[in-house]
Every structure is written in C-alpha cells, then in structure tokens.
C-alpha cells in the first residue's frame, strides 16, 4: 500500500476531541495507530509523522501539547539522540525521550545490570540482573513507544567506534560515569559537529551543562584533562536515585531545546545543585 492509502486511513481513523482547556483537535488512538501500521505496512514512526503532518495528534502525545507545537512534535519524532551510558542517568533519559516522542534513539552501554544498580537505574530490576543494559532498555522502550526506532551498541564507546555511534545525531547525551569516557564522547562530538548535553552527579549534588563543538567543553569543568582524576566525589558520596533522576530530567529538557534549536540552553553555563540545603545555581563558565 502507498502513502496516500495511509493518509486516507488516518483521515478515517482520526476522531475529534477536546483538550482540557476546551480547544479542539484531531486525535489518533494507539489502537487505531497499530491497525494502520498493519494495514498499510508502514512503521509506527511513519504513521505518526504522517498523522502530525495532517494535523492529527497521536493521542499518546496529547499531553505534550500545547507546550510543544505540532511542528515541534514532528521535529522531535524526526530527530535522533544518542544516549551514551544507559545506567542511572541514561536509563531515565532514554525512557523520558521515548515517552516524549524523540523518534530515533541510539543507546550505548557495554555494561550488564548488577545489584548495585538497583537503587537508581530505570531498567535495573530483579529480572534484568546480568543482562546487557542497552538491550534491556531497547525492549522496554519498544513496549512504551513502538514509534521510537532504537539502535543498540552493547559495547563501550572508544575512540575507534565512537564516530559510528554518534553519526547523524542531533544531540548526544552524556550519561557516563568516568572522565575518560566523557573525553572520548566529547572528541567524537567535536569531530562530527554534534552538540552534547553533559551531566554528572555525586550524592545529593549534581551539575549539568551543554557543550557545542567549538566550546571549551569538559576542561572548563574538570581542569587540565590530561591530569584530571577519572572519577570524583561520587566515589565517597555514591549516587542517590532522586539526584540522578533530577539530573536526567534536566538533561532531557536541555536535549529538547538543542533539538528544537531553542535559545536559553545551559551552553556556556553550568547549573549546579545541592539538595542538602536546596542550593540551585546557574553559573557562568566563561
């Protein structure tokens, strides 16, 4: 079947609904969506993109609106984000971006779930212990939002394979836990001119920034990268689930701004928080 058939099918399947504020919209239920995928032999993502293009809102995204416009939702569904590290930060980042409707996710993690992940990592549970993190996340995301096309790299990012991982990505999201790995990611992003959201946590403190290829980048946070320690205060303070998830949420908010080319990101700035005394501060890096 051809795309016009999909458009006819969408026009028939869409129903009129009202938002909570009384504004009208055309809605496509997930059940109708699934039928169209089967009948028209198209991907979920293609069905949703075509629907949005016709002014029909896949009902799963209706609560994204009107903070996101139809055009912005379309752009997110077209976009590709690379989540590097699928542990505490990355698991939650991957889930949030999938629910939001970022259409292509590359998930990179060479690790397997273990007991010490259970306090905070979104996809760590008693049934996934010992399993590869990125592959577990892909399975969970397929159940959450089948329109999201997930590419999994169950290996550690290195200088050799990083180019392929971040290729043609709108934004890379640093969810790593060592400085060496962050340096590898930053190098790949610089070579391929990809902006990067970077965050790190220790105990009830965290930091987040947005780095563009021409920016000073990680050395503004860690000093001389050739002598900086590979790990930091988290070795003493651990990683608490609420700090990690707070930071994951902030990373998603910044990633969306980068994808949608919105102003007022944390580029050139660092947001730091300390939940112990509720300090939230955004500081100028340059």
């Amino acid at each position: 079947m051809t795309t016009p058939d999909l458009m006819e099918g969408l026009a028939r399947a869409a129903v009129d609904r009202l938002r909570a504020d009384g504004t009208a919209y055309r809605s496509l239920s997930s059940v109708a969506e699934r039928q169209l995928v089967r009948q028209c032999n198209q991907s979920f993502r293609r069905v949703e993109l075509t629907a949005l293009d016709m002014g029909i809102v896949p009902e799963r995204y209706t609560r994204n609106m009107a903070t996101l416009s139809m055009a912005e939702q379309y752009r997110l569904l077209e976009a590709k984000a690379c989540v590097v590290g699928v542990g505490g930060l990355g698991g939650s980042v991957a889930e949030i971006l999938a629910r939001l409707g970022v259409g292509q996710l590359t998930l990179v993690d060479g690790d397997y779930f273990e007991d010490s992940n259970l306090n905070r990592q979104r996809f760590a549970d008693t049934t996934t212990l010992g399993k590869p993190k990125a592959a577990v996340a892909r399975k969970a995301i397929a159940a959450i939002n089948p329109a999201v096309e997930v590419t999994v790299w169950s290996e550690i990012m290195t200088a050799e394979n990083a180019a392929g991982m971040v290729a043609e990505t709108d934004v890379a999201i640093d969810c790593l836990d060592t400085l060496q790995a962050r340096i590898v990611l930053q190098g790949a992003c610089r070579r391929q001119k990809i902006p990067m959201v970077s965050a790190a946590v220790a105990g009830v403190s965290g930091q987040i920034t947005v780095i563009y290829p021409e920016d000073e980048g990680l050395s503004a946070l860690y000093g001389d990268l050739s002598t900086a320690a590979d790990r930091g205060a988290e070795l003493t303070l651990g990683n608490l689930p609420f700090s990690v998830n707070l930071l994951a949420c902030l990373e998603c908010s910044e990633a969306v701004k980068v994808i949608l080319k919105q102003a007022s990101t944390l580029r050139g700035q660092l947001m730091i928080f300390d939940l112990a005394d509720l300090t939230f501060e955004t500081v100028q890096l340059a």
Binding site: G87, D177, A202, G203, A220, G232, A233, A276
Partner: protein, 77 residues
C-alpha cells in the same frame, strides 16, 4: 579592615564548611587559594570555583560581599 564573604562548599567539601560561612571574615587581598588552605580543603578538590556565579581561578582575590562557591570534581551517572 576586615572583609566578609559568603562561602558555599559543595558535595564532599561540605564537611570543611566553617560555622560562619554566611559571614566569613577575610583580610583584604585574600585569594581563593588562601581560603582553600586555611580551611584544609584538599587543593585537588577545589576544582570549580565560582565568585558571584562566574567561574574564577584559585588566584582570584576576593572583595567584600562576594559569594564564593567551590565544587569538587563529580562524575557519577
């Protein structure tokens, strides 16, 4: 003449916070490095230094009323 600053030490540095951090007395010409030394903060942990929300260096001298923040390296994910 004595100057006063407010001092905020993050994460692992919290334990070095003096009792009078909100009204910390310093002599004119005092630099961030002087404070790091006086409070026995490990120099390698005084990585990110902010004065009035702008990144500065260990050698930066402080002025009356400055807000000094020191953040150690963090890397968890």
């Amino acid at each position: 003449m004595t100057l006063h600053i407010t001092l905020k030490l993050f994460a692992t540095l919290r334990t070095y916070t003096p009792a009078d951090a909100d009204h910390y007395a310093i002599a004119p010409g005092t630099t961030v490095a002087d404070i790091v030394r006086d409070l026995n903060i490990p120099p390698k942990d005084a990585k990110l230094i902010f004065i009035n929300s702008i990144r500065k260096e260990l050698e930066t001298p402080l002025a009356d009323g400055d807000r000094l923040g020191i953040f150690p390296p963090v890397g968890g994910g």
